[in-house]
């Protein structure tokens, strides 16, 4: 059976390699293609701008001491949906980004899938 997000290209920005590896594993199970993972903001921004085919992104909010919002700006500018992953929950987001799709750490595979599908507007099967 084909997964609903089969073949989607998902950018991952996450500074902790173990967490990044987990996201890769989860995305792999959902038959997505991982772009990155980027371990810092500059790298993430470049990937968000320059990757030609990009369907969605998973963005850790606090990346190596910096906040991920420049990457989110770049994605918003080109209309790529994204999901924040954060230990703070949605309440930890600044006013401007409240209401964005969010998964809270630690996350389950189902939470990642649901958040990505919601962000991309893919109907639940």
């Amino acid at each position: 059976m084909t997964q609903p997000l089969n073949g989607r290209r998902v950018l991952v920005v996450e500074d902790e390699s173990l967490v990044a590896m987990l996201l890769e594993t989860i995305l792999e199970d959902m038959e997505c293609i991982t772009i990155g993972p980027a371990s810092n903001i500059d790298e993430g921004e470049a990937m968000a701008r320059d990757t030609i085919d990009l369907d969605a992104a998973l963005l850790d909010v606090n990346v190596a001491g910096r906040q991920v919002f420049p990457v989110a700006e770049a994605l918003r500018a080109r209309g790529v949906p994204f999901v924040f992953s954060t230990g703070y929950g949605e309440g930890g987001l600044p006013e401007e980004w409240r209401g964005s799709a969010t998964v809270q750490k630690p996350f389950t595979e189902a939470a990642i899938r649901d958040a990505l599908m919601k962000a991309m507007g893919v109907a639940q099967v």
Partner: protein, 523 residues
């Protein structure tokens, strides 16, 4: 001002009236008569008393002002002649006058009663008598003989009931008045002394304001002119010269911050305004940038006697430090939350990925547990240094000590690691040691691991470390990269921005690590 013979004229006068023997008089009859008539003719009311306060003499002005009859009171005690009437204040009024006279007598110095109430009888047209409340101002002067003994007391009193508000110094009208007029002047001086005392009190209050730890300012008028402000207020605004200036001119940077409007409202409505942790941008050094302060303060209206608001009393504290501390605390709690959640996500990742390569629950549990313990131990080392960092050798020793010192060689300089680097290297060495124990040099009885490292210092610290296994079983290239080796490679490249070279040499694994140590977070 006066010589050893004060008021010679009066002493002569007294000697005439009382027949006192005075030993220094060399006066002509003419001068005596002149003095006596001057006393009588003076517009100032005078009364002469014996030291035991019996009435000796009075002048016409005194009779006029008191309404008394000379023959009725002469020779009587002062307080029999004038008892201040039946009012309930009368005993107190009598006490005050008596105390002043006795003081003048006993100290041989003038005493002043700036204001004293003393009721006087008045005969109505129908012949009945009524007591009238009157207000007096009196000076009591001791008159002494050559021996310095007090022989008479001179009372100079003025009815000030209709004078308001203060006692005026009268123009002296005769030579005698000029002399005794000193008493009037003295009384004026006495009032001045009262003023001085009040001023001292006021200065003390002002001093208290000035030294108060909180800031205090008094603003006057609808444009809030600075009438007074204390040290703490000065500190708040960089000790600018604001005295007498209206607020909008004195502190122009407050425009648009709401404070002008709050003060306008207090002045207009007369209702106090209180601010809590209120943010203010103020210039604290001349020409300097605006600094953000947080203030607790109250604006209170100052009213005049009629109840109209004439100014605003400003009082408060700079609570910037408290507000900053509270914010720092929130930041730290957020950071703690972030770290805890990230650590849980790390543990979750280890669990899920360990489970993928260990289908047997017992083997999963043991591998998972050892990975968690390795992570935990690095945390312990970091906690020892309050999360400032950890030493490379301490981390290596912990991961290898189970195999005994004879099988592990550690050789390199003291190397301090930042927390993130320490956590990553702790996990990497754990995976290398686990691999060596399972498949490598530490799986047999004779193998050893040689770990050598050095630091390149320029331009920034770079760690080069070699993990070399010798004397173990023959190494074969693994057919599948397990979680351990993936974790090592990813950690070095992703988290540490370093390099790793894993060489599966036939006589033992060689891992060469290159890790920049002074990497900032932003990189």
């Amino acid at each position: 001002m006066f010589g050893s013979e004060p008021f010679p004229q009066l002493r002569i006068l007294a000697s005439l009236r009382l027949g006192l023997r005075l030993n220094t008089q060399k006066r002509t009859r003419a001068s005596l008569a002149e003095a006596a008539s001057a006393f009588e003719a003076s517009p100032n009311p005078y009364l002469l008393l014996t030291p035991d306060l019996r009435i000796v003499e009075m002048n016409q002005a005194y009779i006029d002002v008191t309404g008394a009859r000379r023959d009725e009171i002469l020779g009587h005690s002062l307080f029999t002649a004038f008892d201040s009437g039946p009012g309930e204040d009368a005993p107190e009024n009598v006490r005050q006058v008596k105390a002043s006279l006795e003081k003048a007598r006993d100290t041989r110095q003038r005493d002043h009663l700036a204001v004293v109430r003393y009721a006087m009888p008045r005969v109505r047209e129908d012949g009945s008598e009524v007591f009238e409340e009157r207000i007096w101002s009196a000076t009591h002067t001791p008159l002494m003989n050559a021996e310095g003994e007090v022989v008479l007391l001179l009372q100079h009193t003025m009815d000030v009931t209709d004078l308001s508000p203060a006692v005026r110094a009268d123009e002296p009208t005769t030579a005698l008045d000029a002399l005794i007029g000193g008493s009037v002047l003295r009384r004026a001086q006495s009032v001045q002394e009262d003023n001085r005392r009040l001023e001292t009190e006021r200065n003390r209050l002002v001093e208290m304001f000035m030294q108060a730890p909180g800031f205090v300012a008094i603003l006057t008028g609808p444009d809030h002119r600075f009438q007074m402000h204390n040290q703490a207020y000065g500190q708040l605004i960089g000790h600018r010269d604001i005295a007498g200036k209206p607020l909008r001119e004195a502190l122009p940077e407050l425009a648009g911050q709401g404070y002008y409007e709050f003060l306008d409202a207090v002045f207009e409505t007369g209702e106090a305004y209180e601010g809590r942790e209120s943010q203010a941008l103020l210039q604290r050094t001349p020409g300097g940038p605006l600094e953000t302060l947080y203030l607790n303060f109250i604006y209170q209206p100052i009213r005049d006697e009629g109840g109209a608001v004439v100014g605003v009393f400003v009082q408060g504290h700079d609570v910037t430090e408290n507000v900053k501390a509270a914010r720092l605390q929130k930041l730290m709690i957020d950071e703690l939350n972030h770290r805890v959640k990230n650590t849980l996500a790390t543990v979750q990742s280890i669990a899920i990925q360990t489970a993928r390569s260990h289908s047997d629950p017992a083997s999963f549990a043991s591998t998972f547990q050892s990975r968690i313990l390795a992570l935990s131990h690095t945390h312990d080392l970091l906690t020892l240094s309050h999360w400032e960092g950890a030493d490379l050798q301490a981390i290596l020793m912990h991961e290898t000590e189970a195999f005994g010192p004879s099988r592990i060689s550690l050789n390199g300089p003291v190397t301090g690691l930042m927390p993130a680097t320490a956590l990553s290297l702790g996990m990497i060495f754990h995976e290398l040691a686990t691999n060596a124990a399972k498949y490598g040099a530490l799986s047999g009885p004779d193998g050893r691991v040689l770990i050598d490292w050095n630091l390149k210092d320029q331009p920034e610290r770079i760690l080069k470390l070699t993990w070399r296994e010798i004397g173990g079983p023959k190494v074969t290239l693994p057919d599948r990269r397990g979680f351990g080796s993936r974790l090592i490679e990813r950690n070095i490249r992703h988290d540490l921005a370093g390099e790793i070279d894993l060489v599966y040499a036939s006589d033992g694994l060689i891992a060469e690590l290159t890790v920049p140590l002074d990497r900032t977070h932003a990189q």
